[in-house]
Structure formats: C-alpha cells, structure tokens
Symmetry: C2
DNA sequence: CGCTTCGTTGAAACACGTCAATAAGCGTGG
DNA sequence: CCACGCTTATTGACGTGTTTCAACGAAGCG
C-alpha cells in the first residue's frame, strides 16, 4: 500500500512534532492575538485557548477545574492536519492524546491481505486516543481536514490519576462509542446494501447537524470518499455508487460535485434505513 | 415471536425476584454451609460468598475493599437461569446489575422486521448491565445455563460514586468490550462465511480455555445454537451449517452431538480465520 | 495538455440466501 | 420400550444481491 506509506510520512513530519502552546490563526483573531495561556477575565480563570473550545463544554475538558485547564493548556498544542494523515499508528506507542476540534477521524482495521474496515468515526469534540491500552487497537486517520488540540500522554495520565471526573468523562465517551459500535454491527451484519447506504447518510446528517428532527431538509458535505464509505459499510465502491445513484434517481437525495448531499426529507431516508 | 414471549415470562418469574443473600448448593459445600456473610479468617474479612468467586479477582469486585465487599454481599443474590432467559430487557429500566459467574450471555439487537444480530458475548467474570445508560441498549439473554451474582442498581451506583477504583474497573471492561466489538465489525464487514465461522470457533475456544497457545488441541461445547451463531456472524443457519461441515470434512474440526467440537490444531483454524 | 485520482455504469460470475425435504436429537407419555 | 411431536441441524436445488472485471467520464493538478 504505497499510498499509506506516504501518508505516514506526512504524519511523522507534520503532526506529532512538539510545537508548544500554539494557537491557530482563527483562534488568535478571536482572542486578540495573545499567544500565551493568559487568563481571560470574563471566563474566570479559563485559558484563552480554551474559552471558545467546544471540548470544554461537551468534551473531556469539561471535567477539569480551571487550574487543571491552565496546566493542561500549557503543554497542549493545536494542530491542523490534511485528509489522509495518520494520527495514531496501528502498533505504535501512543505518546499523545487529542481532542478533535473539527473534522472527521476514521478508525480503521486491516486484515493481513489488505481488506479494510472502518470501525468508528469520530467527530468534534471527541477525545482521541486509547487510555490503558490493552491488546487490539485501530488505526486513526484524518478523513477530512482535521484540527486537533493535543496533549502529551504523561500529562493526561497524571490528570487521570488525580481526577476521577476526567476518568468519568472518558468512561462516558467509551460507553457512547460502544453503543455506536454495536449499532453499526447490526448494520454490517443484517442490513442490505441499500439500507447500509441510507443508514450511513443518516449517521452523517445527524452528526453534522445534530438536533434535526425527522421531516426536515438537510444538506451537508460527505466527509468520506466512496472508498471510505465502502470500508465503513462492508461493501465495494461500486455497490456504494450504485445505491447512491438509486437514492438519487428515486428523488430521496441529490448530489452535487460528488460530495455535496441534500436530503429533502430525512424521514424518507429513515424509511430506507431498515430501522 | 411467541418463543421470546414465553422466555420473557420465565425471566420475570424466576430471575429478578429478590431472594436476599443466597448461596448456591455448590458454594454452600465449599464454604461449610454458612448462609450468612460471615468473615473467613483465612481471607481477612472477605465474605464467604465471595471467597471462591472469580469476579473478586478478575472481575469488578476486585476493586472493592473488604468492607465494601461485605456491604455489597449483604444485598447480593446468586441466581441460576436457564438458556433463553431474558436478563435485561431492551427498553426496560434496569434495576439490577450482575456478575456472570458461569455460562455465556448474548447481547442482541433486533430490527423492526425481526432481523437479529448478536452484538456481544459475555463470559465469566464479566459485569453485566449498563451504568449511566444513554440512548441505545441491547437485549441480554442467557445463551447457556448461566449463574449470576446480582445486586440492586442503587447499591452499585452508590459504590460507583464512592469508589473511583470501581469505576476504573468498569472503564477497563468497557474498553475491552469496545475492542471486541470493533474486532467483530471487521469479521462482519469484511470476512467470508468460511472465515466468519472459523473466527467464531476461535473466539469460543479462546474464551472457554484461555491460555491455550496455537498448535494445541482443544475441545469444547458450543455455547450457541446454529441460529445464535448465524445471528452472531450475520449469516443464515444453513450457511453456518455448511461451513461447519466443510471444516469437518476437511479434518479441521470434529463435531459430536451437534455441540461438542474438537479442534486438533488451533493454528489450522487460525489459518482459515482470515487474520 | 496529459496524468492521476475519483466516481459511475455495464456485463458476467459467484457467494450466500431462500425454499424445501429429510434427518437427528430430545423430552413426553402411552 | 417405542411412538409421537417438537425443535434443531443437515443437505440439495435454485434464485439473487453483491462482487468482480472492465470501460469510461469527470475533476483536480502539475
């Protein structure tokens, strides 16, 4: 797999290099250009880096006290990586954990002969990385452009020991991932190709635009290529393509530029997802 | 599904009825017939009920101090249920958690039209039940005869709040289950029927007789019917049957009384499991 | 402008599902 | 003990959904 090797190279060179407390251009503008973890008077001791961060509310950082947040932000670094970049190698020793700030990360597993399966998709503000790692692990790869806030492994593990609340958040997310994995097992084991594709579109629609109730119109960019979708659904790219065109000709969705999907009526998709 | 309804009735009548601190016949013999949670001088404050229990070492109870174990055993009850008994209903409010002492529990999910998928198998000394339950959940059903040690929900949740170590054990098990679920997603999505059946036999062989290295001979009773195996593998019973007979005629396994499986050489199975 | 990647579409092959018949295991009761 | 019914498992013939193989078009990029 020559493609993967070059991807790996990209990752080694651009991702995990320590760049110290850093702030993306966007964040700099929002916080007035300060590059340090100064305290913001309006948010009572919360680092500027974290003030606008989603992970502080819905993510794991919500479990931390302001002092802990300051300590963590001192060693954290923001990063932006391109689609295809490998974030966590299969067998590598993990030396960083991250929060996903935006974008989609795919977790993949590969059989020795090259067959691949996506075993999970992660969205902001999910926590990325596997604490107390045991045997098996998956490969994490950016599916879209992804921005991350990442921390050294040692820092997180020390905080985990000190803060049961942090561990509780990790447990909560792990339980959520377990639920999602088991839901997807039903899709993989028991649904038809048409139902699989409809289920996938629903999954994306719900994660891109949460809080949409059935019956509404949604449109979004597919975060995955056809090959990725196939690997997620346990199908071939040809079958995925055929099912998408069938949904299109049936008027359930419309597709532009291969990626931009519009769903006029979510409940029509649901009806085809084999709930 | 009339079969399931009668199963449900059995469960309601026999399983979750409070019977107070109880001890199975086997356990009574082992501990000298004492029915209370007296302290055993040889195990420094550990309830007799728990002294020989696997869950105290490898299971969640290993996280508890002797006093907590005494408190927990005061409200715990041992139970023995028949195959097919429903342990945790799909949408029911869970009012008990349990340790599996022996036997196999299957976690299933069902689509509205009846298609079913087993999303997890649990063995002793796994913890059964879903703390901090969020959205989706599965149905738990005894696959074999199962013996349980179960506790009221309130007790566990109080201890969870008091003991970060207990929560840590739960997290560890949840991470293990997540790993297993993701491993199985690869099997469901990317393996052939032959590879699926071989993978299943390996899974059982490893759980029944852990510590077996490749190359050894193993024999065991299948804990699942052909229908269950099919639901676990995302196949039909006919396909499962055909693949089993193919393994048999190829000399990889031998089967007696439909359930008793002998594997002469585990590595031959592994070679067919599509690692 | 060619080159590569990505996606679509068609025809043929095949793995698995469906349908149906039969056998085997197992408890119940005469 | 055998007869009976019931569930569980096996086996065969056939149908089909998905894959495979192949050709082609569209988009992105040097």
């Amino acid at each position: 797999m020559p493609a993967l090797i070059s991807v790996k190279t990209v990752a080694d060179e651009t991702i995990w290099r320590e760049i110290g407390p850093a702030i993306s251009a966007m964040e700099v503008a929002a916080s007035g250009g300060e590059m340090t973890d100064r305290l913001d008077i309006h948010t009572s001791g919360i680092p500027a880096l974290c003030a606008a961060c989603e992970a502080r509310h819905r993510g794991v950082c919500g479990a931390l006290e302001p002092e802990q947040l300051v300590a963590l932000s001192r060693t954290s670094s923001k990063q932006r990586v391109q689609p295809g970049a490998e974030l966590v190698g299969d067998e590598e020793t993990v030396d960083h954990y991250s929060n996903i700030l935006s974008g989609v990360v795919k977790l993949t597993k590969t059989l020795s002969d090259g067959r691949q399966q996506i075993v999970g998709l992660q969205f902001a503000p999910d926590f990325l990385g596997r604490p107390f790692r045991t045997e098996s692990a998956a490969n994490a790869e950016a599916a879209t452009e992804v921005s991350l806030c990442s921390f050294p492994r040692a820092t997180i593990e020390r905080m985990l020991r000190e803060s049961p609340q942090l561990e509780h958040r990790i447990l909560t997310q792990t339980l959520k991932e377990l639920d999602e994995a088991r839901d997807w097992m039903v899709t993989l084991g028991r649904k038809t190709a048409a139902e699989k594709v409809a289920s996938f579109l629903l999954l994306i629609a719900r994660n891109i635009d949460p809080g949409r109730s059935a019956g509404h119109a949604v449109s979004f960019d597919l975060p995955l290529t056809r090959a990725d979708i196939a690997d997620f659904l346990g199908l071939t790219i040809e079958t995925v393509s055929r099912q998408l065109t069938r949904l299109r000709t049936d008027g359930v969705i419309s597709i532009e530029h291969n990626r931009q999907v519009s769903v006029a009526n979510l409940s029509r998709l649901e009806a085809r997802s084999g709930i």
